[in-house]
Amino acid sequence: MSAIELKHLTFVYSKKTPFEKRALDDINLSVEEGTFLGVIGETGSGKSTLIQHLNGLIKVQDKKVSSVIVNGLSATDKKALKNLRFEVGIVFQYPEYQLFEDSVKKDVAFGPKNMKLSPEEIDARVRRALEVVGLDYDEFAERSPFELSGGEKRRVAIAGVIAMEPKILVLDEPVAGLDPAGRAEILALIKQLQKDVSPTIIMVSHNMDDIAVLADRIIAMHDGRIELDGTPEEVFCNREKIAEIGLDLPLATRLRDKLVERGVNLPDGIVTPKQLETALANLKSGGLNERGDDNV
């Protein structure tokens, strides 16, 4: 069964006004459980509108035509909506702006409390969530979230979402604004979350290098439509389309192209630095000009 099934999903902002804007235009998308899906596209391409449909934050506009089904729950079914919210956890951009409680413990407990879990279960989940994001319970539980560093705040915010143990975790630009150490920590954490908590991950990012390394599948959006859909290798081979919809190629692909222009014999489908290194090392050692392995 697909984790996510979107059919003919269309959404129009400010309908019937001069500011009418079609944010989503007949989107059809099916995502298998266990997928790491990368979502790319320029600002205003519809990425945020799409992800907010997944847990019912934005309601399906035309129920006759469009459908949103997540783990068998329909977003148009009012009774299912509450469970849908627990099924899909969304970590928004700059999630630390949404911290509001006076202690880390209370902030992380907010979601599980809404799930009407027992106090013991809530406590267990808060402990687990803080452990998963790498914050020591005894050290952080009673502290105010507002006196933490930027990276720590973001971890607390992520813990608040994963304490609900959502099967699907959606992250919108999770490393924006962090310094390099913070970025590396959060990206490693996301990989770990896929193993430990949420098997299906959807990550929105402007960083093609991060997406090329992390995602098994990428959708590229433009003007409310999915213009490209495939593995990172497939998507980034489509150079004209990527340029046309205002996106960049990953560094490794750009370098591969520059080398090919200069007469170096490299295969297509190089999207990560590791793939490029492997391919160049093979050429250098005079080995067969074979494709490097795909591992990250």
Binding site: A176, D179, G182, L280, L283
Partner: protein, 277 residues
């Protein structure tokens, strides 16, 4: 005389109850007119504190900050120093004061009480300088992040600054917005404005003449980009080498050799190519 000079500057944040944290420790350096300087360091290294000392938003706890030889502690010069050193901040949505773009840019010149003709002239110049002239009568809310930051820069330019300080002005932008803002900064620098770009993005740092890296409130590196990256200290300061350079470093392990520090993609492609053909 240097345009900016720091003499043994300490800055302490008060935590109340007589406790304080020293964010900057005994900093001394100078910046010449027309330089393009990257000010880098991990979160909490003191770089934004330093930026706020440069235009007198903060005053040093010890030591002195001199702009064209005048101390920021000199109250009579505060106004002139703020005019000379304009700042653009991180969040594009927090810096707009008016709904219409030309009104927003006019805010500064209006505040210094310039005559109407002069205001119009300056708004003209500033919007053209950031390539936002065609948007002048539009509403700010319809702009992209990169366009908003360009308007924020125009707002600063309308005061005719000599120093432009970008305090993580690109960190909330998408790649296109980032390129737009850095392109404008580079252009203004070529016209003689000193640019101080605060960032932890080392790809931006490549564009500058000089990188100053702060670590725990002290200067850890102060060198041109190539030397800074070759120093072996970048990672210890919580930063990372530009991706192109990282790749070059990894290729060295596979037997490739590069005589110069690689900063740009074409340099790497040339270097690799020479060793394969």
């Amino acid at each position: 005389m240097s345009q900016i000079e720091l003499k043994s500057v300490d800055y302490c944040y008060s935590l109340g109850e007589g406790r304080s944290i020293k964010a900057l420790k005994n900093l001394s350096f100078s910046i010449e007119k027309g330089q393009f300087v990257t000010l880098a360091g991990m979160n909490g290294s003191g770089k934004s504190t330093l930026a706020k000392l440069l235009n007198g938003l903060f005053l040093p706890s010890l030591g002195e900050v001199l702009i064209d030889g005048v101390s920021t502690k000199d109250e009579n010069s505060t106004f002139e120093i703020r005019r000379k050193a304009g700042m653009v901040f991180q969040n594009p949505d927090n810096q707009m004061v008016a709904t219409i773009i030309e009104d927003d840019v006019a805010f500064g010149p209006e505040n210094i009480g310039l005559p109407r003709e002069e205001i119009i002239e300056r708004v003209d110049y500033a919007l053209k300088a950031v390539d936002m002239d065609e948007f002048r009568t539009r509403t700010a809310s319809k702009l992209s992040g990169g366009q908003k930051q360009r308007v924020a820069i125009a707002g600063v330019l309308a005061i005719r600054p000599e120093i432009l300080i970008l305090d993580e002005a690109t960190s909330m932008l998408d790649p296109k917005g980032r390129r737009e803002v850095m392109g404008i900064a580079k252009k203004l620098n070529e016209q003689g404005i000193t640019v101080i770009n605060i960032t932890h993005n080392m790809e931006e740092a490549v564009l500058s003449d000089r990188i100053i890296v702060l670590r725990k409130g002290r200067i850890a590196i102060d060198a041109p980009p190539k030397d800074a990256f070759a120093s072996g200290l970048i990672e210890a300061c919580g930063l990372s080498l530009p991706p192109v350079l990282q790749l070059a470093e990894n290729l060295k392990k596979d037997g490739f050799e590069f005589d110069n520090q690689i900063l740009f993609e074409d340099e790497l492609a040339e270097g690799v190519c020479r060793q394969l053909n």
